[in-house]
């Protein structure tokens, strides 16, 4: 009986319905992607599709390598979203974090083992700086954070490109990109053979767990989530909403900034993917990918760990499907469909939970029916 009760509790819980909803969204997204592949090139569809599904397995190290930055930006967006803030500025914070990490990497000469740590911290500070502005404008001037954040994405991107190209000790004008960062500035590798994954992914996961604890166990998390649910009630309860907005945006900025630092400082053999930066006036895509990751992870820090790894996983698989003549953009379609359906998450999760409940209830009824005839004392009948 006890066990059944707890089972029902799990099915009723919001976490469970969010999880099942996401799962359903993923399945629908994959089916949709498969249909698109069949239409594009029927004879290779199954091979291409199975490479999407299993391709990540062959490159598990790369899966984690690419998951790290979007894990951080996903946490950033998700954390702000818990308070009802839409941190679309993750890109700008990411870029600033990356630049600050890079700057310390090039300009400071620090001993091995300390240098990269300082670089990471500098990246965090850079992101924080870019988080303060939207937070401050929102809290004290009531300017919508989305507008400020978008503007700061551009300001950050152009500022960084300007600072990079104007600094001869960082910029290599012949190759139109920065020099390679010194070895001391690189984050230690995790040591998975044939891959580029660094210990940053471990930090990322630890940070996610820390955020989970903050959100669910502390008074700050209590205030934060309450503000996200009902701002007016928090005002009534005397919470300092303005301070909380700024603090939340600073934390969100720090997370994105760390994402940028983790990305640029990763030791890699994939040409051009990190250690060096190419100022080409493009807003960092990892910031926007963070929004997708956060949505898929239902803004929960623990969910975001899995969603970032998942998205990175099918992206790796997607690049492999190019072997069968598919464009890697097919994966963007799949991800888009998944995100689209996970927005329906609560409806679908609710439907599934209802189905499970009905099923367990019927089971319980059957059990009761089976047991009840035993209860009367049979001996007295005769």
């Amino acid at each position: 009986m006890n066990k059944k009760f707890s089972l029902k509790q799990i099915f009723d819980s919001r976490g469970f319905s969010a999880f099942t909803a996401t799962l359903m969204a993923i399945i629908i997204g994959l089916v949709f992607g498969y249909i698109v592949m069949v239409i594009a090139s029927p004879e290779n569809a199954w091979l291409g599709f199975s490479s999407i599904l299993t391709g990540g397995m062959k490159k598990i190290g790369d899966v984690f390598y690419y998951a790290t930055p979007i894990l951080m930006t996903g946490l950033s967006v998700g954390f702000a979203f818990k308070m009802g803030l839409f941190n679309i500025g993750a890109s700008g914070q990411y870029t600033m974090g990356m630049f600050c990490a890079m700057y310390v990497g090039f300009m400071f000469d620090l001993p091995d083992g300390i240098h990269w740590i300082v670089c990471v911290l500098a990246g965090m500070l850079g992101g924080m700086l870019w988080g303060i502005f939207p937070g401050f404008f929102k809290a004290f001037l009531n300017v919508n954070e989305v507008i400020t954040a978008i503007m700061f994405n551009y300001i950050g991107m152009y500022l960084v490109d300007m600072l990079v190209t104007g600094n001869p000790s960082m910029y290599d004008s012949v190759r139109a990109r920065t020099q390679y960062l010194p070895e001391t500035a690189k984050i230690p590798s995790l040591g998975i053979e044939g891959s580029n994954v660094s210990i940053a992914i471990v930090f990322g996961i630890l940070i996610a767990i820390l955020l989970y604890i903050i959100l669910n166990m502390t008074t700050f998390g209590y205030e934060l989530k309450a503000t996200g649910f009902n701002k007016e009630a928090c005002h009534y309860a005397g919470m300092n909403g303005k301070r909380n907005i700024v603090v939340t945006m600073v934390i969100a900025g720090a997370l994105s900034g760390l994402g940028g630092a983790f990305a640029i400082l990763a030791p890699t053999t994939i040409a051009g993917s990190s250690v060096t930066y190419e100022p080409i006036n493009v807003i960092a895509a990892n910031g926007f990918n963070g929004i997708a990751v956060a949505l898929l992870g239902n803004s929960s820090p623990l969910g975001i760990i899995f969603s970032s790894i998942f998205i990175s996983y099918i992206q790796r698989g997607g690049t492999l499907s190019a072997l069968y003549g598919y464009k890697p953009e097919i994966i963007d379609i799949v991800i888009a469909v998944i995100i689209y359906f996970s927005s329906f998450s609560m409806i679908m999760g609710g439907a599934l939970a209802k189905f499970v409940n009905r099923f367990t209830k019927n089971q319980a009824k059957v059990n009761v029916n089976a047991e009840s005839p035993v209860l009367p004392e049979e001996g007295k009948e005769e």
Binding site: T218, T219, Y222, A226, N230, A233, Y236, A237, G238
Partner: protein, 515 residues
């Protein structure tokens, strides 16, 4: 042909953890006003939602004129001539009255709106039933009473024969209530059948022909109004005798707890003050009631008093401490408890659980947190204690999501939280709004218990009965000013009404009239 237009037979509707309707039968005759009475959470709204097609019952059937019908959604209900005025109006705020009335059944010529025809029909209906509306006014600009008339016109426009009114009087002033009653009688005379959901016994006695009473999801019975009385109905509804008279101990006046001096509050828009130069004192051991018709500055005054909004002038002192500029948190910790007017907007975080809501004012106290970590065990025990002490009912106890609780229990939870918190002054704004007799009696008892315990209580109310029964002193607010100070023992409802309408003022001549 059956004598009943609508029959709901043996309806059972379950929700997770609760049976909202348990084998309920309700029969509606043609041309009658049939009241549906019950406490909050008794299942009235659920039953009507079943009839309106919003819910599907697990068991039971619905018949119209003796024939079994299936109502899967509100469109089906409409096709059968069933219309409903919801407790919370379903109107598009930025549309005009006319646009709202025709919404969903827009008359058109080849896809182009034909507003002329619609306007003619609406005006004719408005004339016929005395439902005065301005078809071109925007919904957001008109009064709540007018909005309700729009909802009624919506039903008439669709030529509905069975009209459901879900607690229609909860938002109306006494005059508007009288008008509504008159309109309902007119409908009944025309042969329309009315289902009238309410928990106000006076209204039932005044207007209904028959009354069906529900209690905790079960049918108690259906009675003819002419064979019954208020006491009997309330006993059927609550399941015990209800005491309409609030018992109070001998008053023991103490020190001044709250002192308000020349307080003015600016309007949200514009420069004019909506509260002008208000001064009064509340002492320990008394209930002071601010009476007045809705919209005369009471809401703004309370917002300023509790710190939600700023004042433009004056001084507020609580227990000898100047709190004119203090933060909400400081006011709260200095001894002010506040039962807010809008329990959904301010009182509760609806998506939080009951236990999380219970510590909303106290989560930062050392009792509930250590190094910034919330003590979940303490929170759980505290909530269980309050649930037992204040009889807060919910599906799953402390972990129930506040949104899923009934209105009365949500209010009880807020009252439990605010009363259990350390306080010298309790500010209660319309604490019984939308609640049933049992809950009202309970809340009045709690307020009086605070007074008897030597606390100061400031009650803001629109209900005349409440004002007269509970308070020790009445302050009447009219257009942002205190126009009268009355003693409920020596004054009458009629006199109070005159002050509320602005026809009398005993303050301008130095308060001499009251001495």
């Amino acid at each position: 042909m059956s004598e009943y237009v609508i029959e709901m037979l043996n309806i059972t509707k379950e929700f997770p953890g609760i049976i909202a309707n348990d084998d309920i039968t309700l029969r509606l005759k043609k041309g009658e006003i049939h009241a549906l009475l019950g406490e909050n959470g008794a299942g009235k709204s659920t039953l009507m939602s079943v009839l309106f097609g919003l819910y599907q019952p697990e068991k039971g059937e619905i018949r119209k004129n003796g024939e079994v019908v299936k109502i899967n959604n509100p469109n089906d209900a409409n096709a059968l001539g069933i219309g409903m005025v919801h407790q919370h109006f379903k109107l598009v705020e930025i549309f005009t009255v006319l646009e709202n009335i025709i919404l969903g059944v827009e008359p058109n010529t080849a896809g182009f709106l034909n507003k002329k025809e619609a306007r003619k029909k609406v005006l004719a209906l408005s004339e016929q039933y005395g439902l005065k509306v301005d078809p071109d006014a925007l919904i957001e600009k008109i009064s709540v009473g007018m909005q309700q008339r729009v909802e009624i016109l919506k039903m008439l426009y669709r030529e509905n024969e069975i009209l459901i009114f879900d607690e229609p009087t909860a938002v109306l002033t006494p005059q508007e209530i009288d008008e509504l009653m008159e309109i309902m009688r007119g409908f009944a005379k025309e042969g329309k059948s009315i289902l009238f959901i309410t928990h106000k016994l006076n209204e039932i006695m005044a207007v209904a022909d028959r009354c069906t009473v529900l209690r905790k999801g079960k049918l108690v019975g259906t009675v003819d109004i002419k064979d019954t009385n208020k006491e009997e109905l309330s006993k059927m509804m609550v399941g015990r005798d209800v005491n309409f008279i609030v018992e109070k101990q001998e008053q023991k006046l103490g020190d001044v707890v709250l002192s308000v001096e020349n307080v003015s509050v600016p309007a949200k828009m514009g420069k004019k003050d909506v509260v002008k130069n208000v001064s009064f004192e509340v002492r320990a051991g008394e209930i002071v009631c601010i009476a007045g018709i809705d919209g005369n500055g009471q809401t703004e005054f309370v917002s300023a008093l509790t710190g939600l909004d700023k004042i433009s002038g004056g001084k507020i002192t609580l227990c000898g401490k100047d709190i004119t500029k203090a933060s909400i948190r400081t006011r709260s910790t200095s001894g002010m408890s506040h039962i807010p007017e809008d329990r959904h907007k301010h009182g509760l975080v609806l998506d939080y659980s009951l236990e999380e809501n219970m510590i909303l004012q106290r989560y930062f106290e050392p009792r509930f947190q250590k190094f910034g970590f919330i003590k979940k065990k303490e929170m759980r025990e505290y909530t269980e204690n309050l649930i037992a002490k204040f009889d807060v009912r919910s599906g799953q106890g402390p972990v129930t999501i506040a949104r899923s609780m009934s209105g009365g229990n949500q209010q009880k939870a807020i009252i439990a939280r605010e009363i259990d918190k350390e306080h010298e002054l309790l500010v209660a704004v319309q604490p019984t709004r939308g609640l049933d007799v049992g809950a009202i009696e309970y809340i009045h008892k709690q307020l009086v218990a605070r007074r008897d315990a030597g606390k100061a209580v400031l009650l803001v109310s629109l209900e005349l009965d409440e004002v007269m029964n509970v308070s020790d002193r009445i302050l009447v607010m009219y257009e942002g000013e205190i126009v009268g100070e009355l003693d409920p023992k020596t004054t009458t409802v009629q006199e109070l009404g005159l002050y509320m309408a602005g026809a009398k003022n005993n303050q301008k001549v130095g308060g001499a009239a009251n001495e």
